[in-house]
Symmetry: C2
Subunit: 217 residues, 2 copies
Amino acid sequence: MWADAIPGRDEQQALKRKAIVRAAARLMSRRGSHGATLDDVADRLGVSKAALYRYVSNKNDLILACHEEALAIAERCLDHGEEKGATGLEKIRLGLRSYLVEMIRELGVPALILEENVLQGDAAERNYANRDTYEQRMRRLVAEGQRDGSIVQSEPKIAVFMLLGSIHWLAKWYCPDGDWQPEQVADAIVELATRALEPSPAERLSAELHAGAGTGP
Amino acid sequence: MWADAIPGRDEQQALKRKAIVRAAARLMSRRGSHGATLDDVADRLGVSKAALYRYVSNKNDLILACHEEALAIAERCLDHGEEKGATGLEKIRLGLRSYLVEMIRELGVPALILEENVLQGDAAERNYANRDTYEQRMRRLVAEGQRDGSIVQSEPKIAVFMLLGSIHWLAKWYCPDGDWQPEQVADAIVELATRALEPSPAERLSAELHAGAGTGP
DNA sequence: CGTGAATGTGACTTCATGGTCACGTGTGCA
DNA sequence: TGCACACGTGACCATGAAGTCACATTCACG
């Protein structure tokens, strides 16, 4: 019937939960996890707080869902970067750029990431695990870039922290209602931050020599 | 009691208030402004919560004081940078490096900065004003570096946001009990982040030409 | 000593907010 | 038609934390 154009009951549930998570993420981005109350989230969706509990077991669960949504976006964008980019540096650039744009579009601004310490119990550990796998993936990309000569030699951990810091700090200053467009600002930030990873000509030369000069012209 | 912060008699009040601010800053750095309760702060100092109210009018006031302390450190470190550094880039490097070191030493880790949105009323505006003057000072240094050729041409606002993001993100991952020493990690982060501002040899050359080549050998 | 100001305390109030529950309503299905 | 179930609601409870207050204690000083 209806050629499956009408979402089923359980699909509706999933959609509603997603709407809750999105609304919550937006609010928390602005006011922080503590500052955004469940009443706020409910109001934003035009329902009562009690209704939320049909789709979310508690606030911790909701916050965790927000973080997982954000990290899912990040991973998806890294997929894109790894697919399209040639060098380690390019993959990182593409991945971070689309991450920022998507983040601004979908969740307002990625301020959730700024305060993950509010999670308690299992949720906290699960979230740390998620974040760690993402960071490790980033580090592997840095190492790849160091091998292919697109990234300067340095401690990958530090490099990744530096990049993520530059990116997420956006939450502190970017105003979605301002003049700057998401793509524009994402470009500018990512371009500048990843400049830090670019090897100088001299460094690139020595890297090529060290690699056997097999890739030179 | 009072964690051994009681020399003079008349200055006692000021010192005690300072001790409160420091303790609060440390706790808030770890657990966030909301997560750190006044009871926690009092416990840490070995007094009761009620005693705090002799030196602090309310929690907002306390949070504001923490931010002002942090910004005061930042300004002081920029003074140092401006005094010792020759170029715009050097001033920024020195300023940020000592800021990070001092911050880790004094206030644990500068996580307060991550959540200034919790301030309410006058305190919020005053804090934003403080922060703005600091950021403007940083921007002026970037512009100076662009004039003297030590910093690549780019939007100073973006550059400053990128730097501050890299720096403050430290709060997310640096563990004071870990292996890395404050100076070591401050050096690494600042060195890498400011690399992004360095002009490439070609850019430097064109900058010198544009400036009339008056400073070349 | 004696006195008043300063300081610290425990016990209290107040309030915001997370979380629960019994109930009314609409909807799909036999 | 009527049943069962999902859904949403307003009213409610529990709790943690901010903030207050009367009182005890200590200290400077005449």
